[in-house]
């Protein structure tokens, strides 16, 4: 007689290895783990380098953080909207148009027509909702793939922006100035203390609302269900069409709000912004942040960190004197690498 046969407990342990610490298990399935790790690693490297050799890289300075605290929230807020939409399974590449048109309408009604500010903001909100509903209608009711539908909306919005921005004096498209009351400007984009600006607070607000909506509200469940498996979702009674309509409206509203933040900061809205490639940057940020292109998976933190990552990399390229020609190429490479890391590491985690 040699060793005793394994007990049933040992057999069970062999079949199913001991569960890891619950926190680790959660982290393995949490969508934003990878981007958080990448982001923190990058931040650690860059801040460390900047503190050790401040003459080479002035990243960790108050002035630089001021820039980031004004720019990251704008991209991140738009990313939250696009991210929620992507979780529900659809794209929106018309957000650059929304980002430009909504503040434009607000500026025109407030500045040129002389409406009261709340009324002007309401007009902007209605425009954002209308754009979201239009996108939703074409995608949900007409059944057009969202990529194509929002491509059409993008061209449509470009034309509308061109039309709306025509200066009657010169008969040409023109930038419009936006000078809201000081209190409003301070509330939306004012300097709070040191390098922290109000935009960060607004990002916190939108992110919190997004988080609660996605993770603590029935609608969030519906979004994940619709994106994950539409037919199954419909089978269990999820109103998939309504979910998508709402998601499109959320996406347009966040894009419009981000545009408003930017407009109060620089006091101007340019019609040419529709051509800037904003939508691709936001989609790249969302995908780098761990949201699946096929829908059904994603986390708010991931969207925010993805946007932050792209903006920080951009900032770094400027600080490091990288050749201007290569900026877009380097960003493209970073996007691919981020998505690779997300996918590869996620697969390891799931094994």
């Amino acid at each position: 007689m040699t060793t005793a046969p394994p007990t049933s407990a040992e057999l069970a342990a062999m079949r199913r290895p001991a569960a890891a610490h619950p926190l680790v298990a959660w982290a393995r399935t949490y969508q934003a783990t990878n981007i958080a790790v990448i982001f923190l690693a990058l931040l650690a490297i860059v801040v460390g380098w900047s503190l050790i050799a401040p003459d080479q890289l002035r990243f960790a300075t108050a002035g630089n953080f001021a820039i980031l605290s004004q720019q990251i929230p704008v991209t991140a807020i738009a990313a939250i909207g696009v991210g929620i939409l992507m979780i529900s399974g659809e794209f929106d590449i018309s957000i650059a148009g929304t980002f430009t048109l909504v503040p434009f309408i607000i500026a025109i009604t407030y500045g040129t027509f002389g409406w009261a500010l709340p009324l002007a903001l309401l007009a902007g909100l209605l425009v954002a909702i209308a754009i979201g509903m239009l996108n939703g209608f074409v995608v949900v009711s007409l059944g057009i793939p969202s990529f194509i539908a929002t491509l059409g909306t993008m061209f449509l919005l470009r034309g509308v922006v061109r039309f709306v921005s025509i200066n009657p004096k010169t008969n040409q498209p023109d930038n419009i100035a936006f000078f809201p009351p000081e209190a409003f400007k301070a509330a939306l984009s004012g300097n709070l203390f040191g390098p922290v600006y109000a935009q960060v607070i607004w990002l916190g607000v939108v992110a919190l609302i997004g988080y609660l909506l996605l993770n603590r509200h029935r609608y969030g469940n519906h979004v994940f269900a619709t994106g994950g498996n539409r037919s199954a979702a419909i089978a269990v009674g999820v109103p998939a069409n309504t979910v998508k309509y709402v998601a499109f409206v959320i996406c347009a509203a966040t894009a419009g709000f981000a545009g408003l933040l930017q407009a109060t900061r620089i006091n101007q809205i340019e019609p040419s912004y529709t051509l800037s490639g904003f939508e691709l940057k936001v989609i790249a940020a969302v995908v780098a942040g761990g949201v699946s292109l096929f829908g059904g998976r994603g986390a708010i933190l991931g969207m925010v960190l993805g946007a932050a990552l792209l903006e920080i990399v951009d900032n770094l390229l400027v600080l490091l004197n990288a050749p201007a020609t290569l900026f877009q190429g380097i960003l493209g490479a970073i996007i691919i690498v981020a998505v690779i890391l997300n996918t590869v590491v996620a697969r390891r985690g799931r094994r």
Partner: protein, 326 residues
């Protein structure tokens, strides 16, 4: 055939480490002679890769070489907020001078003021505030008026081809809402309206073949089009071929910029003239003045870089240096 995901993941991480190291290499570019390099951030307002801005970058880099300037040439991608960010990055990065383009009247006022308060030299290039020196705290402007240049080419086309009431000009441009397109269109249309000539702007995009198709079809559709004035490099370049393909070769055409085939067309006479806004000067001079302002406190002057209307009489030099000096 497929490696394990783990191996690929490790490879990817190695690649990132390599890339990060490569980024280190880009730090700094100034040469050390006897002068301490002046750190200048040049903010081109638009896009990287566009042919119009190539001589501007060339000029800035040449001045950087000649005057020991550590040049950081960046693009604002048509976004005023990004331009403001870049100005503030220049401040944070302890640059000595920042050279922005004032594409929108008020957007950069705060950032420029901050730059001046921090002691940076600020010289605007290419496009100025409509309010001029009163609009913001920039110390000088080097560039010229897009609208004035539009006037000049418009007037030249009217004079040379005797355009009058009843004539109709096509003004193709890549994207009608971009700043350069708007101001050039305004300038050209002012000159044309003064002669009673009507005109139409048409968007062609940047794909050369498609622009060619679009302009040909527009000429075909409008028999009363008697001239074509391209407002950007793409349409000006394809105007001659478009007229031929539309079955109306020899329509008077002219336009802006010097890239591609435009100069050869001028030399052989098929294009009347093109407007050279001398982007080389708009890159070279600001960098030079910034270097001297930082080192010796010389106040930078305003400079109108002039409108160089290139026609058959002066096209030869342009031909050899297209894309670099011209």
């Amino acid at each position: 055939m497929q490696k394990t995901n783990q191996a690929w993941g490790l490879r990817a991480l190695r690649g990132i480490a390599l890339a990060t190291t490569a980024l280190f290499v880009f730090t700094g570019s100034g040469s050390a002679q006897d002068l301490k390099p002046v750190k200048v951030v040049f903010i081109q307002h638009c896009c990287s890769g566009a042919t119009f801005f190539q001589p501007m970058q060339f000029g800035a880099e040449e001045a950087a070489r000649l005057f020991q300037v550590d040049l950081n040439y960046v693009n604002a991608d048509g976004d005023a907020a990004r331009a403001a960010n870049l100005i503030e990055t220049a401040i944070a990065d302890k640059a000595d001078a920042v050279l922005p383009t004032i594409t929108v009247p008020d957007a950069l006022d705060a950032a420029i003021q901050k730059a001046r308060d921090a002691g940076l030299v600020v010289i605007a290039q290419n496009i100025d505030d409509p309010e001029g020196a009163a609009g913001n705290a920039r110390q000088a402007f080097i560039g010229q008026d897009f609208i004035a240049s539009g006037n000049i080419i418009g007037k030249r086309m009217v004079d040379e081809h005797g355009l009058k009431e009843g004539d109709h000009c096509l003004l193709p441009v890549e994207f009608p809402e971009l700043t350069y397109a708007v101001e050039r269109a305004q300038g050209v249309q002012e000159a044309l309206t003064a002669a009673g000539v009507t005109s139409d702007v048409i968007g062609t995009g940047t794909v050369d073949g498609e622009a060619l198709n679009t302009i040909s079809q527009a000429i075909l559709a409008n028999p009363n089009i008697t001239c074509v004035i391209g407002l950007g490099q793409t349409p000006t370049n394809v105007a001659v071929a478009a007229a031929e393909e539309a079955g109306r070769p020899g329509i008077p055409n002219g336009g802006f910029d010097t890239g591609a085939d435009i100069i050869p067309h001028i030399i052989d006479g098929s294009t009347t003239a093109t407007m050279d806004q001398q982007p080389f000067w708009q890159g070279f001079l600001p960098v030079m003045f910034a270097a001297y302002a930082v080192r010796y406190g010389l106040t930078p002057p305003d400079i109108d870089t002039g409108n160089n209307l290139i026609d058959q009489s002066n096209a030869d030099l342009a031909k050899d240096h297209t894309g670099t000096y011209r």
